[in-house]
Structure formats: C-alpha cells, structure tokens
C-alpha cells in the first residue's frame, strides 16, 4: 500500500538530506584518512550506482504525477474563460510533470536493475538510496494508472504534494553530491526545484486527503493459525479468523449464528471495556443492541446459497474462548482497540453480505402461511413457494438497520493524518547541522 512505500521513500530521503560530506562517506579523502578509503574509480562506481537509484525515484515521480494530473486542479484561477480547453495543461503540476520528464529523459543513468534493488550495499549512503529506489519501484504497484480512476481530487493533491517534496529533496541532494567523481547533475535542476516548490505550495492551499495512503496493493489478510492464544487474546484471534472466513458468503443459517455470536461478544465485552474505556463500552453496548435487532429481522429471511461453515465455527470459537476469560481481567487499551478495529471490519462485511444478499436474492423472504378461515367455503391452497425475493430491497427492515446502525459511519473511521514521515522530509529539506554536530557526524576511523 502507498502508505508504506511512500513512507519508506520519504524516510530514506530525509536520512540522506541529513548527511553532509558525502565524498567522505563514500570513502573520499578526509582529515582522518588523507588518501581516502576508496579509490576515485570506486567512488565513481558508487556514484553511478546512486544515479541509477535516483533515476528509479525520478521515474516513479514522473509517472505518478502524470497519473494524477488529470484530477489535480490548480488553485490558481485560470485566465482563460474557455471551458472547452482543459485547465490541467496549465499550473504548477503540469509544469512539474514537464520538468520531471525533462530530467528523466536527459539523464544517462539507466533504471536500477532488480539485482541492484535487491542487493544490500555495505556503504550506508548507497544503502539509503537503494531503499529509497526499492520503495519507489514498489510504489509503482500502488500508484499505477488504475489509481486515477479511483482517486479523489484531495487524495491526488496529497500525492502530488508528496512527489513535489521528493523532487525538491532530489534537487538538494544533487547539489550536495557534486564532489563525487563523474557525478552527473540533474538536467535543469533550478527549474525542477522551483516547479516542485510551486506545486507543493499550490497543493497545500486546499486540504489534501491523506487517505491516499490506504491506496494500492496490500497483502491478503490471513487467519491466525496455531493453538488458541491464552485468555482474551484467544477471543481476538477467533474474531480475526471470523473476519477472514467471512470472505465467502455464508448461508442464511450460518449468518444468523454469526450474528448471534457478535451480539453475545459485544454484550460480554462491555463490562471489561467499561473499566478501561467507557466510550468504547457504550459503543459496544449499542453494537449488541443493533445485532439483537438484526437477529430479529433475519428470522424471516432464508436461503440456501452460500457456505460459511468455517466462519460459523470461528464464531463458536469466539464464544467458547470468551467463557475462559476471568471476570476480573483487565484488558489493555491496545487489545480493546484491536477488538474495535476488527469489529468495524466485521460489521462492514456483515452489512455488505446482508445488503448484497437481499438485493441479489440470495437472502429470501419466508412465505407466511395462509390462514384457515372456517366461515368461507373455499379450500386452502397448498404452498407452492417457500421463499420469495424481497420486493424492494432498499425498504427491507434489515437493510435499513444495517445501513443506519450497523455499518460504521465515516465519522468513526479515524481521520487520516499526514504522518510523521511527511513532516520529517519537509524538515530535512532545510536541515543544516551546527558546527559541533557536523564535527561529531564526521567519519571516524
């Protein structure tokens, strides 16, 4: 996911920005080693390696900005009143796209190969560059062309702001590496630096949406295997496994068993949470009430499609393990938070299952039996159908309940913050060591 790869890239670049005396760090002559620890040829080779890593980062910057350019709108009011001419051709972002492309094309360094990206270097400077390039290569997976179809403008602005900060870091580092033998400077670094600065400022005028960190590839959630964890952790383990097993659609019967387990779990965990986090306790009490309502409304729904036997078994594990938790147990806040996170996901999944089930008629309405009325002379017709599709899915009581009460609201989802790595990279761009620090940071024998 972009949150991880982007953070890795920024962290490595911030660490590089805090390093001065690069020639010495690559084995050049210093006060302690007048002849240097590495020959000029060796330093030149390390420099070329760094340029390959840098080219990988530039390529990611360029491609990502091109991807998001279509939905990144400048805050500068356009002079042209012609609405038929796309506005994205102008503005700092468009200029940065051109500057990055210019820089990429005019560099003689090729992209870092898989071998270079995956082989750790003994030199700490080169290793930081390798990590940054590796993150950039992985980030391509997260910020590929498909992303543009899903991103919102505030998310695209956050991404463009990140690219701008990284481009500025590359310009600063380019000047600092000039003493490396054979070092090739960025083409037109002034233009790149200023357009990156302008883009960063332009993007920060609006409120960027850092939920973009959630975009991209993420590993599949796997069940926690092995023996049950002791105490409350065993319950959390089973609840997590239930979430994983809910990937397959359960039958109506299994869904009712799972709903019952969630009602009991929330209700039983409520007193434990009340001692540590009363806010969470009240949420869980409300959750138990909601599941009780869902349970009532599901009684008149049936259907045989689906499976969910393993999910129902995990739901039984939840309740079985809950019995082994001693009444006076104090549950740590991070475990409670873990439960809340899994609850939000389970609730979302169950809401999806019910809504989709009713809409696509995998969950059907049970038929009410005809009444026997003695006063009429008519015969009671045998039932031809046991189930009928719900007439108006959106009006079904259970669908309204899951929409209004079960599905976690956007307010409950934690607001995305810029994170430490963004602030750290911005701080590192203007970092200058004091005399004492510079002395201490100097290479030692």
């Amino acid at each position: 996911m972009y949150g991880e790869t982007g953070e890795l890239m920024r962290t490595q670049l911030a660490a590089l920005l805090r390093q001065y005396r690069i020639a010495q760090r690559l084995g050049g002559p210093s006060r302690w080693a007048p002849d240097g620890l590495a020959s000029p040829t060796e330093r030149e080779e390390l420099g070329q390696q760094i340029q390959q890593y840098r080219q990988t980062v530039i390529t990611w910057c360029s491609r990502t900005l091109q991807t998001v350019q279509t939905i990144t709108f400048s805050n500068v009011p356009s002079r042209r009143a012609d609405p038929f001419r796309p506005d994205t051709e102008d503005g700092a972002t468009a200029e940065l796209v051109r500057a990055l492309e210019h820089t990429r094309r005019h560099s003689s360094a090729p992209l870092a190969t898989i071998g270079l990206l995956t082989t750790p270097s003994d030199n700490p400077v080169v290793e930081l560059w390798r990590q940054a390039a590796r993150a950039a290569a992985l980030a391509e997976h997260d910020t590929s062309g498909e992303l543009a179809h899903r991103l919102t403008t505030p998310q695209a602005q956050a991404l463009a702001g990140d690219v701008a900060a990284i481009a500025q870091a590359l310009v600063v580092l380019d000047q600092r590496y000039r003493s490396i033998p054979g070092w090739e400077h960025l083409a037109d670094p002034g233009r790149l630096g200023w357009t990156a600065l302008a883009t960063g400022l332009d993007m920060s005028l609006d409120q960027p949406d850092y939920t973009v960190d959630q975009a991209g590839w993420r590993p599949r959630i796997k069940p926690i295997r092995g023996a049950p964890k002791p105490g409350i952790l065993g319950v959390l383990q089973a609840e997590h496994n239930l979430l994983v097993r809910l990937k397959s659609i359960p039958t109506a019967m299994n869904l009712r068993l799972i709903v019952d387990s969630q009602r009991l779990l929330s209700s039983h965990l409520h007193p434990y949470a009340e001692r540590v986090d009363p806010r969470l306790a009240s949420q869980w009490q409300a959750r138990a009430t909601t599941y009780a309502l869902v349970q009532q409304q599901l009684r008149n729904l049936g259907g045989r499609l689906g499976k969910g036997n393993i999910a129902a078994a995990e739901a039984a594990n939840v309740l079985g393990r809950l019995k082994s938790v001693a009444p006076g147990t104090v549950i740590e806040p991070r475990v409670l938070d873990g439960f809340q996170t899994v609850f939000n996901r389970v609730d979302t999944r169950i809401a999806d299952i019910i809504e989709e089930g009713v809409t696509h008629a995998t969950l059907l309405q049970r038929v009410t039996l005809p009444r026997v009325v003695d006063t009429t002379q008519q015969l009671v017709h045998p039932l031809r159908e046991r189930f009928i599709p719900v007439a108006h899915a959106a009006d079904a009581a259970v669908v309204r309940t899951v929409r209004d009460q079960l599905r976690p609201s956007a307010g409950e989802v934690q607001r995305a913050t810029p994170g430490r790595s963004r602030a750290d990279l911005h701080a590192a761009l203007v970092y200058r060591p004091t005399q004492g620090v510079a002395e201490r940071e100097g290479p030692r024998l």
């Binding site: 039958t251 109506a252 019967m253 009712r256 068993l257 019952d260 009602r263 009991l264 209700s267 039983h268 138990a288 009780a292 349970q295 009532q296 009684r299 008149n300 049936g302 259907g303 045989r304 309405q365 049970r366 038929v367 009410t368 039996l369 009671v380 045998p382 039932l383 046991r386």
Partner: protein, 99 residues
C-alpha cells in the same frame, strides 16, 4: 412438507421468537434463538415466516405453546431425537431466563 406440518412449525417458531426477544438476559435470549435455529436446521431452513397475530404476551403461555408445537413435530416424521434435543435447549433457555 404438508400444510399441517408447516403450520405446527410456524407455531413453534412464532412462540419462540417473542420468548427470545423478551428474555431477561442476553444469554437466555441467545439460548431461545439457538432453539429456533435448531428447528430451522432440522427442517433444512425451509421454515415459514413468523406469524405473531393472536399471540399472547404471557411468557408461560408462550413457553407452553412452543413446547406443545415442538412435541407435535414428531407426528410429521421429524426424528424424535432431534425434537428431544430442541426441547432440551428450550428447557435450558427457560432455566437461564429464570436465573
């Protein structure tokens, strides 16, 4: 299933549902619900809808009605052991509800 069988099953379900909804504790409510789920499982989840019309609010009467309807299911070819297991669950739920 013939109509009399369906009617008995609907009666059993319709008596169990208010018992679950009005139980004293979550555990008792869940226990009644499990008895109802067992009834549905025995019938391959082909049960008819609940019919609350004309039902009393007296829990003793509801319990007696559920008990009678479940016992009657043996007359329609339902395995006696399955019926006994549902009755045992119903008895457990009642015990939980009273405690």
């Amino acid at each position: 299933m013939e109509l009399p069988h369906l009617r008995t099953l609907a009666q059993a379900r319709s008596h169990l549902a208010p018992l679950a909804d009005g139980a004293q504790s979550v555990e008792a409510s869940s226990a009644y619900e499990r008895a109802l789920l067992d009834l549905d499982r025995i019938h391959g989840d082909e049960s008819p809808a609940l019919d609350a019309d004309g039902l009393t609010e007296d829990r003793a009467a509801l319990y007696a009605g559920a008990l009678t309807a479940i016992e009657e299911l043996t007359n329609y070819g339902i395995d006696a052991l399955d019926v006994e297991l549902v009755l045992a669950k119903l008895e457990d739920a009642r015990a939980l509800d009273r405690s």
